[in-house]
Symmetry: C2
Subunit: 357 residues, 2 copies
């Protein structure tokens, strides 16, 4: 086990927070941490960022303050920094120091609402990928007609070969089993038709790999864009270009329909009265599609848990992202990925005997 | 002009219909034609398909019958036929004969609710692409917060190079100008970020081409998935893989929200009462997102107008698809594409002097 120390974090209840990432940092980061602390009383935080700003905010949450530590960071990765530049020049940034804390064993995971590209570049560089994983992927939960579906990749890898897609499928399946508790997850490859001959080489080869190799899931086959929110499968696998477009198209369409609904209900007095009576129903709808509930994109396949919060979220949204990181650590997600990759690719037994620590 | 006879159809008011394509053919084809005939009294139809089935249906629409002709076709392209097989073996199919009618000048356009891949393969083979156009694209209108946006390609070309994307942009822009009457359409390239460095080579090169060459539109730059329904641009340009996924993701998300709404309004008596009062508002919403209104995917870039109706639509939806074909012919869309391509690629003057016929 000595070669995979990240599988046994020294401080499993400690979460490193990039306190300076996101539109309204550090306020929403501290607020989110306070909310998360109420939900998971065992967790402790290390806030990385401007001490002069964080300290007074923490002062307003006495319980949170007792279980928190601030580590001063002088720099902030800007929202529009190029990943390569952030990687070279951001060594003293709050984001980088928070990631370092995970690599050094001070924290079990990191959550940031900062620049996605910079976060992925730094996390890859500092944490490295899990043995057997060629490329990390970004994953998130999507609300569906049947519950929730995990989709990956959402933008880390613009172009993916069949083996990458296969690995995304494995990671998604293990996420479903360990974190969502679904014993037999189904996997769908996003394509533009369900027939075997559809799509480009990568998806067709990935489909044949998924049919041939033993996997801890059931391969459903190809799915189409409408299957994502229909909940046809538990895991939607795609390249980062299509995945990012699909995710943002879902957000945009939900926004469009909310816009149409508002216009329709504003159009007459009777409709307005109907709206008043229907407020409870709309609240229900709103809560089911609340983007804060689905906040927290997971960077899967790294030697450490890293979760990206939406930059524009509020305290509640940030607390949800912390919850995602918490669950990945608590369910020992990375150990299961490492075991699965070791089995899949026959990595040496020193590494595969995860249980022997 | 003798080399481009398709630009002056002998029978500009005649529409060829594949009467056997779609789930409920030929009934919905005849019903749709009857509705379209009411909207455009000048048009006439040639129905291709099983005369024994079409004849009695036509009998129930005396006015339509007077302006229609049936041409018997013994074969039908099945919904699951591979395009290559349909092309080789479907020479006597209703779909093929309807396309032939356009090539031979008997009709100005063709509408089919049949197998999309087969329709595209046959239309390309029989009609050929317009001079200068490397690949035809599938386009459709999408409802947005600002009105309507045209998106292409939706699946004809899984992989596209930068020049293909540029040509799609031109065709989309000309569609906006001629059919939608927008004098200065804006073009957006679908990507996973708006920064210049985002995305794969093809989209980045296409962006630089669109910035450099004079085009009959304004190049907005990159857009993301949520911009499609926000109506950020008039024309969304993308490869057929991403475009198809985006289109179906929009459909799926609309379906999901309708599902959530139904559940929310079913959850209490007060909500149900609210629904009754809100019925007018919901009708308004429904009509704005009615897929029948947006039925009729256009195959752009061919030497003839070809429109694909959704296979599962009803008479109203099929009538809308006929309307799309009608508008493309009436607005002389193909002539404008041919002119633009001639200008863009400096095709010989014999071909470019479209006006001299």
């Amino acid at each position: 086990m000595s070669d995979l120390p990240f599988l046994q974090p020294l401080h499993p209840h400690v979460i490193a927070l990039d306190a300076m990432g996101g539109d309204r940092a550090p306020a929403i980061v501290v607020e989110g941490a306070a909310k998360a602390r109420e939900r998971y009383p065992e967790i402790r935080f290390i806030f990385f960022g401007d001490e002069a700003k964080i300290e007074p905010l923490l002062g307003t949450y006495p319980i949170l303050k007792k279980s928190s530590e601030i580590r001063h960071a002088v720099e902030v990765v800007s929202a529009d920094a190029k990943p390569s530049v952030a990687l070279r020049q951001g060594r003293k940034s709050s984001m980088r120091l928070a990631i370092n804390a995970v690599a050094e064993g001070d924290a079990a995971c990191i959550v940031s609402a900062g620049n996605t590209g910079a976060l992925m570049a730094m996390a890859k560089f500092v944490l490295k990928t899990l043995p057997g994983v060629d490329r990390p992927a970004i994953a998130t939960l999507i609300p569906t007609e049947k519950g929730e579906t995990v989709m990956l990749d959402l933008g880390a890898n613009i172009e993916c070969d069949a083996e990458n897609l296969f690995q995304f499928a494995l990671m998604g399946a293990i996420f479903c089993r360990t974190v969502l508790g679904r014993s037999e997850p189904t996997i769908g490859l996003l394509n533009i038709g369900t027939e075997e001959l559809k799509g480009h080489d990568e998806v067709r080869i990935a489909a044949s790999i998924l049919r041939e190799r033993p996997i801890p899931a059931k391969f459903h086959g190809f799915i189409e864009g409408n299957d994502i929110t229909a909940g046809t499968v538990d895991v939607v696998v795609t390249d980062g270009f299509s995945g990012n477009i699909a995710l943002k198209t879902i957000e945009g369409t939900a926004h469009l329909i909310a816009h149409f609904l508002r216009q329709a209900f504003d159009s007459s007095v009777i409709a307005k009265l109907g709206y008043v009576l229907s407020r409870g129903a709309f609240q229900k709808l709103k809560s089911r599609t609340d983007p804060r509930r689905y906040n927290g994109a997971m960077f899967l396949g790294l030697q450490g848990v890293c979760v990206k919060s939406h930059g524009g979220t509020d305290g509640e949204g940030f607390a949800c992202a912390i919850g995602v990181a918490h669950d990945l650590v608590a369910r020992d997600f990375n150990r299961r990925i490492a075991e699965e990759m070791a089995r899949e690719y026959g990595l040496n037994s020193e590494r595969t005997k995860m249980g022997e620590g």
